[in-house]
Structures are given as C-alpha cells and as structure tokens.
Amino acid sequence: MSNNNPDAIKKVSIICANGSLEGVYPSLIMANGARMDGIEANIFFTFFGLNALMKKTVNSLKVATVGNSALNMAMPMMGFPITTPFPTLLGAIPGVSNLASWMMKNEMEKLDIPPVDEFLEMISDAGGKIYACKLAMDMFKLKIDDLVDHVDDVLTVGQFYEISAGSSIIFT
C-alpha cells in the first residue's frame, strides 16, 4: 500500500567519509534500503570514503582492528563472549585485519549483504546516485577513471547541496 503519511521521507542524501568496511556498509545499506522503499537516494563519498569507489580498493576494504574500541572477540565465528575485548596489539599483527575482514565478509554474505562493488551496482541499478567528492579527489590525486563505473559524477560541496534539495542529509 502506498505510504500516505505527508511527513514520509521522500529523498535522502547520505555522506560517507570513512573507508573501513564498517564505515562504508552503513551508507550502502541505508541507500539501498531507501530505494527499496521508493525513496530517492544519493550517496556522497568523501575523504577515505573514496576507498569504496576506487577500482583498486573497492573489494579490499578492511575492518579497523587497531584503535577500534568497539571491536570485540565475539565476532560470531570465534565464539567468545561479546564482552571479551579485542586487544589492539593483536589487531596490529600483520594479517589479523585481513582475517577479521574475511570473517566479517563471510557473515555478511550469509545475510545476503553483497560485496561493495556489487552493492554499488545494485544501488545504481535501483536508481540511486553515487557521487565522489571533488576536493577529496584532488587531494588524493584521483581521476574519474580510477573509480568504478557506477559513479555518476564528481561534485563540489555546493553541487552536492544542490542535488540534495528537498532531501534529508545523513552523515554516517
């Protein structure tokens, strides 16, 4: 049934400024979820969020295992209680971030959460718009060719606000 609530959200613009696995997925899930409900969706990737758009990094995003105080050993596959901390020194050992990321990706796949490149394609095919921040592109010396094909445009902050007219802006 169509939503008759006059206050119903019609458009969202989501800003993704983090390039870790746990920093990127919330933006993707919220944008895709918006499209599923017929809500217009834009995602604006800036700073390290650009890692989610770069061809070279799109499928190798990692969970932050150092300096991530929220991380614990309960990652389902390890079977520890959720209160067991994940020692940051353990996280610094080479390969640990890879392992943790691999485990998390496996768990996500079980829940039907796609890998980042497939997710971007899904959102784009669903009519969501994907934008990269011009200033961050300049800073990292990136060209549009360095980004995956689903990127619609490279925008300045002003242009982002323009295309966001009438939308709720979400900073994840």
């Binding site: 979820g33 017929g38 039907d112 899904m122």
Partner: protein
C-alpha cells in the same frame, strides 16, 4: 480498484493491506492489488517475480531479499524496479499475497 472492491474478492488484509493468509491468493486478487498500487497491467515478467516470491515464501516463511530475488528469478535489478516502481520489495510482496518483507537488503 479500491480497498472495498478488493475486499469483495473475499480476501483478508491486515491494516497495511497485506494478505493475512497467502492461501487465499488468486491471480484476480494480484491484479486488483496491483491496480491499487498503480500497476495497470501484470505482465509475464511481473509473474516471474510474483511466482518466485510465493515459492520462496512457502519454502522459507519469508519473502526473498532483493538480491536473492534478482539473482534467482532472473529478473535483473533495473527491470525489477521498472516493473514495480516506487518500492519493489513491498509492492511485489503485497501483490504476491505474502507477508510484508522484513529484511533490510
């Protein structure tokens, strides 16, 4: 077709307009609900989606995620959104006579 006319087809809907019993579903009901959702004609491609959703629901007790739906039914994402404009998961579930989908993907 209005809510009342759908009701004349002897079908029980919950307060959000989803069938409470998927066994009551008929193609006639699907057409009626689709009309109410603004889909004038249900094509064969709509029924590929609807049939897949009903099959999935009978097997798992819940509708498929969009990703599963597109991968398994052979209806790509773009087409799915074109077939059910303005929110494919919920619209298709309603037309297919199954529960409102609960997944986030």
């Amino acid at each position: 077709m209005s809510q009342i006319e759908i009701a004349e087809l002897n079908v029980d809907l919950d307060d959000q307009g989803y069938l409470t019993d998927h066994n009551q579903w008929t193609k006639e009901i699907a057409v009626a609900i689709a009309g109410e959702e603004g889909i004038i004609e249900l094509t064969d491609r709509h029924f590929v989606v609807i049939d897949f959703m009903r099959k999935e629901f009978k097997e798992t007790g819940t509708g498929p995620s969009i990703r599963r739906l597109t991968k398994q039914s052979g209806v790509p994402t773009k087409e799915l959104y074109a077939l059910f404009p303005g929110g494919p998961a919920k619209k298709a579930a309603r037309i297919a006579g199954i529960k409102k989908p609960e997944g986030c993907i």
